[in-house]
Symmetry: C2
């Protein structure tokens, strides 16, 4: 799930890459300078079997180029098994500091007494971005991020990138600093975009070698269910030259996912089925072709890191 808060944060970040690379990312990857590069990215792997099954299917069909995994979640072993059998799959880590559903929850990977600011009274990760952003201690977050990366590697996953579940790591400059620091250490590209009004406290964490996206697109609760396909078609038609990521959440609208996401229509089971249906449709494939979109993966970006 990416909550409304997440969306708000992400939208803050749409825009220009202000770093002074002499060549665009497209050029550095061997494309024309005005190429429209797109990552189609499935979030939330490992949250539920239904999510995994739909995301694996979309990855197999190349309907999405990349995905990221929630390491503290119960279905990690299923995703690790897929990762081992599909070494070319572009799988990153959806660094997770929240446990947002009502009937179904998870805790941190790190030993609890080393990260007490990470969880609520019931011993699970915070249910929302806001209380998490209020309570989290940056040093404990750093410990947990490392634990998540180490567990991913231990179960056989070779992450291609990092991003942040529900945008928690974009909620405070010191959390963003931890995110960037850990990504640098593990030599992984990470999801970041800048808006003209992004505070210097965030900007100053980035180095000239970091890859910054020009735009990030996520469906939001204002999109009517019947307009789902139109929303994505319009997004593709409106793509500008540069590097864009479309973030989707794929799942089947089945009993498991309905139960995980009970009482939560935003980013819920039907939402995820609509995302799956749209991404795997021939119409969407055709729209991508007609608009000369070049699909890339995070591992392509990883090759650009010095």
């Amino acid at each position: 799930m990416s909550s409304r808060r997440y969306l708000g944060v992400i939208l803050l970040f749409f825009t220009l890459n202000l770093w002074g690379q002499t060549k665009t990312i497209a050029e550095r990857l061997g494309y024309a300078s005005d190429a429209k590069l797109l990552i189609i990215h499935a979030d939330d792997l490992a949250v539920a079997h239904s999510e995994d099954a739909a995301s694996f299917d979309a990855l197999d069909k190349k309907a999405v180029t990349s995905a990221s995994i929630m390491i503290p979640c119960p279905w990690l072993s299923e995703v690790a098994s897929y990762a081992i059998k599909h070494p070319d799959a572009d799988l990153g880590l959806h660094l997770t500091l929240t446990s947002e559903w009502k009937t179904y929850r998870w805790g941190p990977v790190e030993s609890k007494d080393k990260v007490p600011s990470l969880f609520d009274a019931a011993g699970y990760l915070w249910p929302e971005t806001a209380p998490a952003a209020q309570a989290l201690k940056a040093d404990e977050v750093e410990r947990e991020l490392r634990a998540q990366i180490e567990r991913a590697v231990a179960v056989g996953i070779h992450p291609t990138h990092l991003d942040s579940h529900m945008g928690v790591l974009f909620a405070r400059p010191d959390l963003f600093a931890v995110y960037v620091k850990v990504a640098h250490e593990y030599k992984l590209p990470f999801l970041a975009a800048l808006a003209p009004d992004t505070p210097a406290a965030f900007r100053s964490q980035l180095s000239g070698n970091d890859i910054v996206l020009d735009s990030v697109i996520v469906a939001n609760p204002s999109v009517p269910a019947g307009d789902w396909s139109n929303f994505y078609t319009a997004a593709i038609r409106g793509l500008k030259p540069g590097l864009t990521e479309i973030i989707v959440h794929l799942g089947y609208d089945d009993r498991e996912l309905q139960s995980v996401m009970v009482d939560h229509p935003d980013y819920g089971a039907a939402w995820r089925q609509r995302d799956y249906n749209t991404m795997t449709s021939t119409q969407f494939q055709k729209t991508l072709e007609e608009n000369h979109v070049i699909l890339i993966k995070w591992k392509d970006l990883k090759t650009l890191l010095k």
Copy 2:
């Protein structure tokens, strides 16, 4: 899941109550001395939504009298919500020291660095009873059992009894001692039965006030799928006077449960659907009536504790 090992352990325990109560449990509960008392008990609540849904349905239909909850499992919040809405539901704690499925796993409730003997290299509870019984340190088990009970209470569950997932707490006298000690402290009845050859190291943990079952019945992998109903009918017809528990595992044979229990037909999704079908059948209800079985709950037994 109760593995074959669990079955072996449970069968060791069928038999007479050797404690010198002057009255039988039936008499103490106000029934004839030769009454056939039966608890029909659903294990493994909180392991999966499918398990919860089938078990709640069977509890609501009074097809089972009691159930027990796996506190470290992801769906605990769903079960806690049911428990709060159904204060009369007879819900105990299925004390959990294993995480036995392949694609879907969980860790301890206690902070990991306080219970290092409880988990495997991936940070989850041991997958089988045997390695658990080899590795577990009794003091760490005690810490974890307390953490499971405390979390249950914290989320609104008032447990009526304790038992042991996959029989881990019946695997060593010192683990059994911890189980009994914690049950005594929390003033909860607990699943225990004795065979003529049960070692003194186990017997000596029990006090005269403890309730010991005369017999425990669990379906086992030698029962053909087509004979499921016959197995339980024969069990009911063969009931002897005294206190018996039938342990069942209820679930729907759906995609979620099939995925949780992948590659594991014993105690798998189809097994659980058969248990559910049999327990909720009118034929099984009729068999109970025809054989003058008195259904009781763990909370009835709890009233007998001094």
